[in-house]
Symmetry: C2
Subunit: 479 residues, 2 copies
Amino acid sequence: MASQAVTPQSQDFSKWYNEIVYKADLASQSPVRGCIIIKPYGYEVWEAIKAGLDRRFKETGHQNAYFPLFIPQSYLQREAEHVEGFSPELAVVTHAGGKKLEEPYVVRPTSETIIGESFSQWIQSYRDLPLLINQWANVVRWELRTRPFLRTTEFLWQEGHTAHATAEEAQAETMQMLEVYAEFCREDAAIPVVKGQKSNIEKFAGALRTYSIEAMMRDKKALQSGTSHNLGQNFAKAFDIKYLSRDNVEEYCWTTSWGVSTRLVGAVVMAHGDDQGLRLPPKLAPIQVVAVPVYKNDDERAPVLDAVQRIVAELKAAGIRVHVDDRDERPGFKFNDWEMRGVPVRLEIGPKDVQNDKAVLARRDIPGRDGKQFIAQAGIVAAVRDLLADIHDNMLAQATTFREQNTHEISTYEQFQGIVADGGWAIGWWAGNDDDERRVKDETGATLRCFPLDQPDGAGQCFFTGQAAERVAIFSKAY
Amino acid sequence: MASQAVTPQSQDFSKWYNEIVYKADLASQSPVRGCIIIKPYGYEVWEAIKAGLDRRFKETGHQNAYFPLFIPQSYLQREAEHVEGFSPELAVVTHAGGKKLEEPYVVRPTSETIIGESFSQWIQSYRDLPLLINQWANVVRWELRTRPFLRTTEFLWQEGHTAHATAEEAQAETMQMLEVYAEFCREDAAIPVVKGQKSNIEKFAGALRTYSIEAMMRDKKALQSGTSHNLGQNFAKAFDIKYLSRDNVEEYCWTTSWGVSTRLVGAVVMAHGDDQGLRLPPKLAPIQVVAVPVYKNDDERAPVLDAVQRIVAELKAAGIRVHVDDRDERPGFKFNDWEMRGVPVRLEIGPKDVQNDKAVLARRDIPGRDGKQFIAQAGIVAAVRDLLADIHDNMLAQATTFREQNTHEISTYEQFQGIVADGGWAIGWWAGNDDDERRVKDETGATLRCFPLDQPDGAGQCFFTGQAAERVAIFSKAY
């Protein structure tokens, strides 16, 4: 519970981020390398993210299941690219029950392999398809550099795994789940994202095609916030996932996988936060409205608290998440504290408001007087509901404008370097190969974030190679 | 999706159990030692269990958080009894990121130690107390003998961890959470449980006092279905969990922990199931009502399906979980299949029902004609709601009667041995010491399940030692 000032974003964004995570009480440090402890306030944001996604997964016909944490080491080796991609990051259990294991177990870095093995047993005929499974789980990747929420050794995530009869259906599923992620970000997290395809060198180890949603953070860097992979028949062949078709022919399935993680909590922090602290989108905020009673002495205190309790009861009954701050602290301290914690709406009630049946609503997304309104207590539920919806819309609009202002079309490498140096996304025609892409990264620090699905008509000239290019790509520094 | 007969309970209960778990599609086997895969149908039961518990935890003021999967090996050693209790069961990560670790990590068997370490940092003064945390997580215990859901190497659970200023508050929390578990079992799982205290040798490694809820399975054995521990100051002293009191004195906290796991899915199977398969209590059933259209030919098919779809839409709109079985199979096959899967209510509609605006509701808890009723389609939502409530009450009553009929008061060791040999719970005065308790276990296979909280007045004579005894204990064979 801290209300000290934080380092301004403009001064040191990275420091700002770390301070917010700990001061807003989202997480605390842990004794385990690269792991954080997700504190209740941060975990509630994750619970809201889970609820919003889980509902959408179920609406699109997916079912949850749970697979083992441990994966026999030999499983990872069955898909060549997959094992190469994940080997450097694995945590390995070599001893258990007081004995050395004959075959070590790997702590899952992702579950394509063990789920692939199950699918091969569960699927017999075309009648078993599509098989649409999701898992909420913890995974472990021994990353070299870690940052709270954005990249931790252990993280929480969901991983969808599906099997289909045809290549077309697998591709449709891959794109559907990408859109589910984009919709969630837009509608629940108030984050606009670009949907696009990853380049060859950025795709998932073992995938045919990887798609991602990319969001712009307040430092103008990109954060890959979710991925959806068309795995083709790679895992089906490695794990013998076959079905008997209507024509009684044995065929390999086409599979997909897709995931988002607690990284989304970091996305929310970095896409919306400001120098006063967190700004939480209303749908994900553990506390949507904080009620602060304002009084000078005991005579004023009782009627003010009475009014607050009555209004809070009404809001709660309407399903709004409200908290009363009745701590023995000055209002100014409380205001700062809740700004730090990103609560979307502050409800103030003082003795005058009690007399006039009024209240003050102050919104976190618009600072100062402009964000304050006096309203009648009678219509407060409707007023708060409308205000929360409006805050969501405004936060999404602010983030969209910010992204648009900081996304630049470029046609030469010189322009490109200027944009990357200043900060922002560069979008331009691209026809480079893997080596060209690596060279751009080495020279500028920017990576090819994606080929946006939304492409301009026609064709152009690659800003790097000068060759004819059929697609534009977005490049940026990224997390 | 199987409808073959299962081994009768009376013939081989253990075999019956395993067959039900796999044939009712709750789980499938996995390539990892002692681990199962929880399939969607089983996972939905677990999701309903989680939802019912999580709501109650939040209503009693607890907040969820998430702590690391890995625990530094040295942490476990700080509480002497704790490390002794868990050492034989640990899985150990010795290598990660391609290197040997300097200090190995243990995969959490439970999180008292790492949470204790956090509590010592989070708690400063009496104002931070009580601290009421819960975690939903996976844990790993390398058990010698495993059985699906009942005892698996990895399992899913929740672990509550709380810290308090006084011994009294910690004890009150311990008892409150025991009652939360008992209430959940009664109200959501339709399982009556006995609340009681564990004996010294059965208590949790590191606890001052352990309490449990014990349920009787259909083979008359006991299943410990949840535990609540008063940890006294043991972990507070081991992890330096201190607070500054109102009087400005540094004091150790008093802590508790409490947990239930996916074992509860096994409890539901074994407390309610019969020779036709699962019987799911309505509140935990993924499908509460299965609608089976009954027709002989295509002329009959269309109007029957129309009526089914209309009724199903009504039930869904009322929040009832309904599934339509429109597979191209005979009704008899479908009836058996859904009985196996334990769906509480079957809704049948045939051509005559369509004509008469009627439907048939058949309940899983009462077999044959007695469990069938013809009802008017007009009032179907209310009828189904009432029926689901009645099924819950009846299942709870059936389980309670079964337990009462198979619980026997005994006053001599000879009677005791007879009861244990025949199957059932024996309840009698007990004043034995740890060695006596072990001898009873060695000689009869029965363990002291608990000293029930609900004790008779007065005192009696120990059935084993003949000494004066102040408490009765329940003994039984157990899982």
